[in-house]
Point group: C2
């Protein structure tokens, strides 16, 4: 027997409809590449999004067609986002910072029909167009006066939508309809597309709005530093309009001074970004003796948060740092490091230790740790296992069927991470599954050794990789890049690690290289390191 409640689909047109109806006058502030600040409102973004839907329909865009954006965060990007999704098209966010060959691959794979681009990347678009024949039209997210000079035809966003009324009929589809497309920058193989549904984005937004998650409020002014092309913008593109927070979209400039000025000028209370941005901001603030007059809390995600950032924000500036974990495939938020009652009652050091973990699972999701055979592992804070996750906001597969069936027998998605979970339910990522060193049936965290080795003053960078071993399966070796002018030898580094890691974690060899290879997102490229080790033999073999 079914319940007798209203059958109202969970679609994201309701998000911007709600913002326009109940927070219509709340500001959306954008800063363009020239540093110029423009102001609009949720009501005006809503009206522009309706015009976008009409403009797309006039271009022949049909439900399910992919409409790409490649742009920094701004109000026109926001209107394009809702304009495409709410008419039933798929809003595909392209990342302009990827290598050209990746962008070309992704745009072709997605079959993007329209490209709405930032005027600052007109040259990049010019290189892209000949290689992506599916793109029928380019719209620059600006007014006519700001149009870049191009050798290819393009139209200004404002001119493109101007002829159309703000009255498109939205949401004439089910809640499982595709809403957005975002590709993972996989470190192996080609990028793969995550196809969000209206339902998953709607539920994800509600999940993140809990007090024990991102806890946005109508009284917040939100600076969305996380790019809209990165992991669904952590859902803030949905959650801020839902609550009626003032939304500040910073454009391209991420340097400390630009971000600081925007925070102070707009009265920002909350912001979300990767650690690098916060490091640049804190450095600027410290060097210039600045204070934050309105900032209350920041969310950090994308990679593990250094303790120094948490301490500096908290102790020197009274700003609370909330660590979140997730990935493109998880909408993205999966865990949030907000204290439960037991942790809140702990002493300061213990609370901080928990805050530095990736955090507690959001309701609606299941999460498990398993060994290579798929057996569940204990939540003891010590035993590492592959991290798998399940829920209505988690990917079930990739666009076009890439990667095949990615769920296990219980319907869980393998994150590719190795993690521990402690007795309080706090998850901590210890390694990428492909980087963990499996030695004698136990798992050695490459990241943990790297982090400790990086404490040595002579090192500019450090990488640990596993090398095949006849008895132990694999053994770790440490690869070091020295700072310019610094020196250190293998024995010094072994001595430095002694006592800081378990004896059986001690690298069997220490190598020095001029430069540790990095991938496009700045992370260590272990695939390149492994390729460079072809023919390498562990010392005991080499000396045999």
């Amino acid at each position: 027997m079914d319940g007798l409640m209203q059958n109202v689909p969970l679609t994201v047109d309701r998000v911007i409809d709600h913002a326009a109806a109940w927070h219509g006058g709340r500001e959306v502030v954008s800063r363009d590449a020239d540093g110029r600040v423009t102001r609009t409102t949720y009501a005006a973004v809503h009206a522009d999004a309706k015009r976008v839907s009409n403009a797309l329909a006039a271009e022949g865009i049909k439900p399910g067609d992919r409409v790409a954006t490649m742009a920094w965060n701004g109000a026109r990007h926001l209107a394009a986002w809702y304009g495409a999704s709410c008419m039933g098209a798929v809003l595909h966010t392209l990342n302009p910072r990827l290598f050209m060959e990746q962008i070309v691959y992704i745009a072709n794979h997605a079959g993007d029909r329209l490209l709405l681009a930032d005027p600052a990347i007109a040259d990049l678009v010019g290189q892209l167009l000949p290689q992506v024949p599916s793109i029928e039209k380019v719209v620059f997210l600006c007014d006519r006066a700001s149009m870049p000079a191009t050798a290819y035809p393009a139209v200004a966003f404002d001119d493109w939508i101007a002829p159309y009324p703000a009255d498109h009929a939205w949401g004439q589809f089910g809640e499982n309809t595709a809403c957005g497309l975002c590709y993972t920058s996989g470190t192996t193989g080609n990028p793969k597309g995550v196809l969000y549904s209206h339902r998953s984005n709607y539920i994800h937004a509600l999940m993140t709005l809990q007090r024990d998650a991102l806890a946005l409020s109508a009284r917040d002014t939100v600076l969305l530093v996380v790019p809209m092309y990165h992991a669904n913008a952590w859902g803030v593109v949905f959650s801020a309009p839902i609550v009626g927070a003032k939304l500040v979209l910073p454009g391209q400039r991420m340097d400390g001074e630009s971000i600081y000025n925007l925070i102070e000028q707009e009265g920002v209370t909350y912001s979300s970004a990767v650690p690098t941005v916060w490091q640049m901001l804190l450095q600027y603030v410290q060097e210039n003796g600045k204070r934050f007059s309105t900032l209350q809390r920041v969310t950090i995600g994308g990679s593990a948060c250094p303790e120094s950032i948490v301490r500096t924000f908290r102790d020197d500036y009274g700003v609370d740092v909330i660590q979140g974990w997730g990935m493109t495939e998880t909408s993205p938020l999966g865990t949030v490091s907000v204290p439960n009652a037991a942790v809140a009652a702990m002493d300061d050091d213990a609370q901080l230790a928990h805050k530095l973990k990736q955090g507690r699972l959001l309701f609606g999701l299941d999460m498990k740790l398993v060994d290579d055979a798929g057996n569940r592992l204990p939540h003891d804070g010590k035993t590492p296992g592959r991290l798998l996750i399940k829920g209505p906001t988690i990917a079930s597969g990739y666009f076009g069927g890439d990667g095949g069936d990615v769920l296990d027998g219980e319907g869980f998605f393998d994150t590719g991470d190795v993690a521990t979970i402690d007795a309080q339910g706090y998850m901590q990522i210890t390694d990428r599954a492909k980087d963990v060193v499996k030695s004698g049936g136990e798992w050695i965290s490459s990241i943990e050794i790297e982090n400790i080795a990086m404490g040595h003053p002579a090192l500019a960078n450090a990488a640990v990789v596993g090398v095949a071993h006849p008895k132990w399966d694999e053994r770790p070796i440490l690869i070091c890049q020295l700072k310019p002018g610094a020196s250190a030898n293998a024995d010094e580094l072994r001595g430095f690690l002694t006592g800081k890691i378990a004896t059986w974690w001690m690298p069997d060899d220490v190598l020095f290289v001029d430069e540790i290879p990095l991938g496009p997102t700045g992370k260590i490229d272990k695939r390149a390191i492994r390729a460079g080790l072809t023919g390498y033999k562990l010392p005991f073999e080499a000396s045999r």
Copy 2:
């Protein structure tokens, strides 16, 4: 084209599963009728709920069958709640405070097969049983030692579930499956049943957990004074386990001293109740010079909140009062009076004036004001209209088809309330639609005149009703019940109202009665008043 996210149904077994897995050791505290406090945990409630499902299956309960509870708030009631719902049966909460004839009507209408009852109401159950032949078995929510002596067969809950393992397979059904049944205590006609779905309860819980709604946290200790049989317990039966709040279930005793002691003993930080309970609590605290050492915020709903409660809590005890509005048909939360940015920037009096309104609409819902012809009315804070509401947590009809099609052409449910909505989106109930006085095409709020009249020191109670008028359609008359020993006449009351209400709102007559009739929930029974006015004529007619 559909998105590629996991197909995980929104069912409430996930709520208690989540609580057991991630907040398993968090306490659930119950106080029984004797004042005895017992402690369990979410993990233990989860295990008991699994046993309940097995016990129900052994009794032949099938998906869709109604399982009734008639009990105060306690941990066994919670286990019964989840045990029934999570196996696909419908948990029907009967209100033991209704008149017997209403309970009989409701239980027969629902076709309840089992009754899980509080041992304190064994006599009431004894009266009920012969009149409700569908009830096959009675289980008292207690252990064997606490079993009441009865002339009819009954079993103790603990004995009933003891034989069964804690491993029932839950959730083998779709999210629209019926989950709970709760009857409205309609002031006209028979009670009607609202049939919640798993989906509606799940979404409602997420909606209420927003920081700008009830904002429960893992660090909260929640005292659920609102009965579990009243309007879905405001969703707290779901939201507290979701976040892992400690849950305190107070049983039957609602006097100020009992509630105060429970708050202090258990370290309660948050509680929800109707105004009467808070009035009794504040009176006790004031008369005995007590302080609250942990209480931070309280939610008030069920009827309009007197300003004195808000001021006393805030100014004397530092407790924030959050007003919520809803009804059984709305799951129940529809609006919450949490400040937006504009209101937060207002002066103290203006903020308080907004806090006393019923509040801002929760995301996911639509709300409109219409006139009798269904035309939308402005949100100017002045124009009253019929309040209609729509969304995935709003009823689409009643159990058994009672009342027929209750939605308008746009799919909105008519709340039966008359309200205004101001420029900040704050809704304020001004009257019940059937009590509003329609005079010359304008609407006069009976409640507003009553509230002002009640400021006269001689009045114990006041009621305003509309009387037919040949020119104006209706005109208001004021009916007064004097305090014992007090005196006042019609002219004095007209003089008292002059300047406080619009001249055309002035009652055409003032009548004095010994006692104004009240309904079962303590509200003025205007139907009875109107029945008593049969043959009454307005002064100008009577004197004609």
